[in-house]
Symmetry: C2
Subunit: 745 residues, 2 copies
């Protein structure tokens, strides 16, 4: 088997019948919009509201064309056209004959062209306009009858740009009479986790009845080999692999992977074909959170909260991480390198779990390969989000085809921790339920094809929580500390605190004369910094909240600094709040990790393409396996007020943690550090937090609008933590802050 590249051109037309007037060079994988933008001179569509250049392009037909000479085919060989992804509905023509009409961007295409070959060949892929439900408003609702990621139809942090075209690897392939395609090693681990019972299944042509071989390699050495006759369904006789090294997330061990090789042998034992892959052995379960069976207490009673606790190889692990969104508006441009820089930062942040949000794509293969290697669990959603996907037979048939392809591709990855039907489907803006056939279908398919990976229909479920997404809810008159101190949930699977991007980033997307003061210009609005979400709220910049604490900012630099400080402190507060609620709580995943283009303001930890905001470093500190933490009642404190906070040692480690002493210090601007107490903490139980004393201080007079709390670990400085809170001296005039005086002492 070997592959042949294709050279592509692209044309467009207003309807299916019309042939394109001209063809331009096309980049594959990519997107039709990028090719035509390039042909027009390549305007920077990130800048200001330039993305409107794509308006209307989503409604055209696009034709990819590749011409090639007939390759030399030996006896028994076939020529296949293979594509790992064409977005979204398309027809394939070969030498004038229509071979296929397909809907769906995730199932791979494999067309045997052999019978239709001529000396000179022409392959056409005609891509249809973006799918839209007839009658739906111009919004994500247009995506609610297709398996097309809804985010492209416009979101509160994503412009409306609907990619189309060939978006993943695509080529010609010469296949032998005996062809070995994909193979998978399905396994279960025994209770002691020291033996894997493995069923190998090999796809391909001409395999049935032949001998097959499965080999496992560790660090280059073959550590296991198993021969057996290949059955008609491609399966080999099952075997036991004793004492597998287990795959762990990076924070709990090594993400061990074996190289796996499947071969088909001839009568003499020679290899006719082979294919390599990898396998990591782990047992993943979703189990009931500790304490959940004790609720509800009294009759009449409803059920206990459903499981939200990941258990990896028998360990109930606390999932720390984030919500992953498409890293590009055009996923066709995604590369292994692009995934790698983002996943390296995730691992550095001590994240052991990423939720691949259902509003976006199922990622390319390299994403999961990298997560396998780095030891990061992937919560994978199907492409359903915030919509009411129907019980319609056509939609269900496309969903079934696409879901089968997704499950069969991803189930091979050790990183796959959880299947999920999609995002926020059981809330009023989704209005789906357990009775929705799409979700029943996804439950049945994951059970059939990948029964050892848990499945949940959506997030949030009962006991889990999404939101809040504001540092301060001006309507509720509460800050993020007040809101979350009241909350008690099994998992915080979305929560957001926004900030502006860096000044440098802003300058790349906002015209110079609009930079400051921030006002409602097309550029700011396009980049979701003002009134992005709901008309009545200034999201995601939230200027009222910044002004509430610090007054009107005199410069853009000051505004950015304040905004980023609030994001960092807000996120620290929530992550640590969630960790303090362990073991009842088992997850903290903020909304969101990255962004698909440069947002002026967003809840993301990283600005596009992969630039850490200050909140990233703050969250990284809050996610250290063992660290000190302070629990605050609120963000803003005033001179003369009794300030207090609880000390905690947060401990997600299953190793023995050494005891130490912590000094709690408070320091305001113009003041000396004040030591409030010392706490000599004991060795905590594995994977258990310690709750320490409460420190108190009548706040003195300081300068400035903020003060610092430091928890200094005397023996283990790496466990130390630091916080910044807002401060108001009595001498300040309240007018400067435009604050209701009722909230001040």
């Amino acid at each position: 088997m070997h592959t042949l590249p294709l050279v592509w051109e692209l044309g467009r037309s207003a309807n299916a019948e019309e042939k394109p007037a001209e063809f331009i060079p096309a980049q594959v994988p990519g997107a039709v919009q990028l090719d035509f933008l390039r042909a027009q001179g390549g305007k920077d569509f990130f800048f200001a509201d330039n993305f409107h250049v794509f308006d209307g392009w989503e409604d055209l037909f696009y034709t990819y064309r590749a011409r090639f000479e007939v390759p030399v085919l030996k006896d028994g060989q076939s020529l296949y056209f293979v594509s790992k992804g064409i977005d979204y509905a398309y027809d394939i023509f070969f030498n004038g004959k229509k071979l296929f009409s397909v809907e769906g961007m995730f199932a791979r295409v494999q067309c045997d062209l052999t019978a239709y070959l001529r000396a000179q060949n022409e392959l056409l892929v005609r891509v249809h306009p973006a799918p839209k439900r007839a009658g739906a408003a111009v919004s994500r609702a247009q995506a609610d009858h297709s398996v097309k990621p809804a985010v492209s139809y416009g979101w509160d942090w994503h412009p409306r740009v609907i990619p189309l075209g060939i978006w993943d690897e695509t080529f010609l392939e010469i296949r032998e009479a005996v062809h070995l395609g994909e193979f998978s090693l399905n396994y279960t681990l025994n209770d002691a986790l020291n033996c894997a019972h493995v069923s190998a299944v090999i796809e391909g042509v001409g395999l049935a009845g032949r001998m097959g071989r499965v080999e496992l390699f560790d660090a280059g050495h073959c550590v296991f080999s198993h021969d057996g006759k290949i059955a008609h369904d491609g399966s080999l006789p099952a075997f036991n692999f004793p004492n597998p090294k287990l795959w762990w997330t990076h924070d709990h061990g090594a993400p061990h992977l074996y190289k796996a090789r499947a071969s088909v042998l001839d009568e003499t034992g020679e290899r006719l074909a082979q294919k390599s892959g990898r396998v990591g052995f782990r047992r993943i379960r979703l189990v009931t959170n500790e304490g959940a069976w004790d609720e509800p207490l009294k009759f009449p009673k409803t059920r206990s909260a459903p499981p939200a606790q990941l258990e990896l190889n028998g360990r109930a692990i606390f999932a720390k991480g984030s919500n992953w969104v498409n890293p590009e508006i055009f996923p066709g441009t995604l590369t292994r390198e692009r995934y790698d820089e983002l996943l390296c930062l995730a691992k550095d942040a001590h994240f052991n779990c990423l939720r691949v949000w259902g509003g976006g794509i199922v990622n390319k293969e390299s994403f999961y390969e990298l997560a396998d290697e780095k030891g990061i669990l992937i919560w994978q959603e199907f492409p359903l989000a915030c919509n009411q996907y129907p019980d319609d037979p056509h939609y269900l048939s496309v969903l079934e085809k696409e879901a089968r392809a997704i499950i069969l591709r991803l189930k091979k990855h050790a990183c796959l921790g959880l299947w999920c039907g999609g995002n926020e489907l059981f809330n009023s803006w989704g209005k789906m339920t357990e009775q929705s056939l799409a979700l029943r279908l996804l439950g049945a398919l994951t059970l059939q094809l990948d029964p050892t990976t848990p499945f949940i229909p959506t997030s949030p479920l009962m006991g889990m929580a999404h939101g809040h997404y504001l540092f301060r809810d001006m309507q509720q008159d509460e800050d993020v500390f007040e809101i979350f101190n009241r909350a008690r949930h099994t998992a915080y699977t979305e929560f957001g605190v926004s900030s502006l991007a860096s000044v440098e980033s802003l300058k790349k997307i906002i015209p110079q004369d609009e930079l400051f003061p921030v006002r409602e210009t097309p550029a700011w609005k396009a980049h979701h910094a003002l009134r992005a979400w709901k008309p009545e709220r200034n999201e995601w910049l939230c200027p009222e909240a910044i002004d509430y604490y610090f007054g009107t900012a005199p410069t853009l630099e000051t505004l950015v600094e304040r905004s980023q400080l609030m994001q960092a402190q807000g996120y620290k507060g929530i992550y640590e709040h969630a960790r303090r609620q362990k073991p009842y709580c088992a997850m903290a995943l903020n909304w969101c990790y990255n962004e698909a283009w440069p947002c002026a303001a967003n809840n993301s930890l990283l600005s596009y393409p992969a630039e850490p905001k200050p909140a990233y470093e703050a969250v990284r500190q809050s996610c250290r396996p063992v660290c000190l933490s302070a629990r605050f009642e609120k963000f803003l404190w005033s001179q003369g007020e009794e300030f207090s906070f609880e000390l905690w040692l947060l401990n997600d480690s299953f190793e023995k943690t050494t005891p130490s002493t912590v000094r709690a210090l408070v320091c305001g601007v113009g003041g000396e550090p004040i030591e409030l107490l010392q706490w000599a903490y004991e060795t905590p139980a594995p994977n258990a937090n310690l709750r320490g004393p409460t420190a108190r201080l009548r706040l003195p007079h300081w300068e400035g609008d903020r003060f610092t709390v430091r928890l200094e670990d005397t023996k283990h400085p790496a466990r130390s933590s630091q916080y910044v809170l807002a401060y108001r001296a009595r001498t300040q005039t309240s007018a400067a802050h435009n604050t209701p005086t009722a909230t001040l002492n």
Copy 2:
């Protein structure tokens, strides 16, 4: 095709190898225990604790034997052994050869005996001991690895007696070369509900390629006929049946059924074989309760409550009914007549829904036929209850076989309203979750085989409620009114108030000298009247609660009267509470309807076999489609206290309801009726309640320990309602009632 009866004998042995020493006559269908009891002279096992006669019998092997001469078989004919149910694990031997070993009581047996026939034939069915999980305590937990109803292992109202044997129709059948077995008409109704799109599937032998015919008859007249070629999977080309008369529950319309006939035709159009059945056309959905999408309100927020609203033919109907349990300890004795008397009473009580509880059996066919005819929706559970059924491959394979058989049999019935995985599996005493493979499997199978009927994994789900089961919770110091007035749920799918059986019934099961005063004797305990459920509580008689209100009863008659009064008034309170919460609440199903043997005290509305308690009539009044209702704060009121209650018109009718006037009257013993107010109520909206005024009265001095509230409808006496509440005059001494005085004014 015709059937031949068999004459059965039965033997038993201690192990599988040992042959029975002797055979006794056997009754089929029946139970092995009943045959041996009969052979021993037939002790009344209902009396006292006589049921212990069966102790140990569950652990023996039983062999059914039937001998018969070879019947005359024409060319192409075959002889089949058919059984609709053998309980639980068994082997089938024919003329010395073992043909099958089977586990599971619900899948029917069809064995082709033709090839093994001799002149004299012997058929043996060897039934294994009752399944028990090794190591489990002697309790329902022993049933947690099998698809055997758990109730037989002992429950708080059911003795431990585990039936075994042939429990449903069983016979020989001569089949033709062209054999027509079961057929089903799968249909979907269009949105307008005026056209059914029907797919007919016929099972059988020798059908493929032949012409088939499906006919529908209404009142004896053929109203539709459709011919088509039978495909290899038994399906005929789909067809549309226009303007079907819809099937309704009896309270919303007529439960219309068509007779259906499937035929196989020869080349000349003559019938080779035919089979008749029935079909009712209805669309059943489980939809989100009104108001549930508005919750939760604030961030961080979890999901909205899952659907608990049945929608029949587009109508959101309030489900009024009860929990159905096995009407006999030995289900093999169940007959159509036995089902009929119970279902007639259910219909008379205005019940439109019965929950067939997962602790018991899936009923025999006549149960569902009668429910089809009477217009009662059936909530059908699979046989899982209050246990943690495992992810074990063997258990799952038996469950899959049994569930397939159950689904394919029951899906033909118009009465089938809801599939449910089982009882209370998501609470601490079940400890199953959505991740349990058994429940994922049942979800997948119901989707595959019966996608138009809703499925829920268990009850209660989020928002639904089970309990309370006491008139007065002595620990919480609250009565049923106080407890439920605080409750707000989408569905009350279990709630119980107990009472003693009638004096006459008690005399049949309790020895004369133990009847009164009630005390802890083996007879009382066996019949679950004292400390049935938990050692620390006196369930289900609850003597402390009766004494709390009325003091020590001087006679058994008085005790029974008080107990039954409390049950009646308590149930009225809960049913009407649930109805008042419509539309957010959509179901009221009490625990329980009937009982499997004569309980001395139980939450049932009917004493064994089908004797209405006073609560039955009270509930019947509370379930009238249109009726007046009073909302009380509590049960016990004292002289001088300000007594109050709200007036309501409860209205589940979709027809126009005429206005009227209601007089609210209160009457104590020795006093004249006092009219508190008149309320002239308007025409309510269809299917909507009216909330009326609140009546108030400073309670005067009366005689006696109770008083009456009457709501008299002046134009529609059939809507009038009456309640009895407990009363305490100031002159009474509190010592007599053993009541904390703090609860009195």
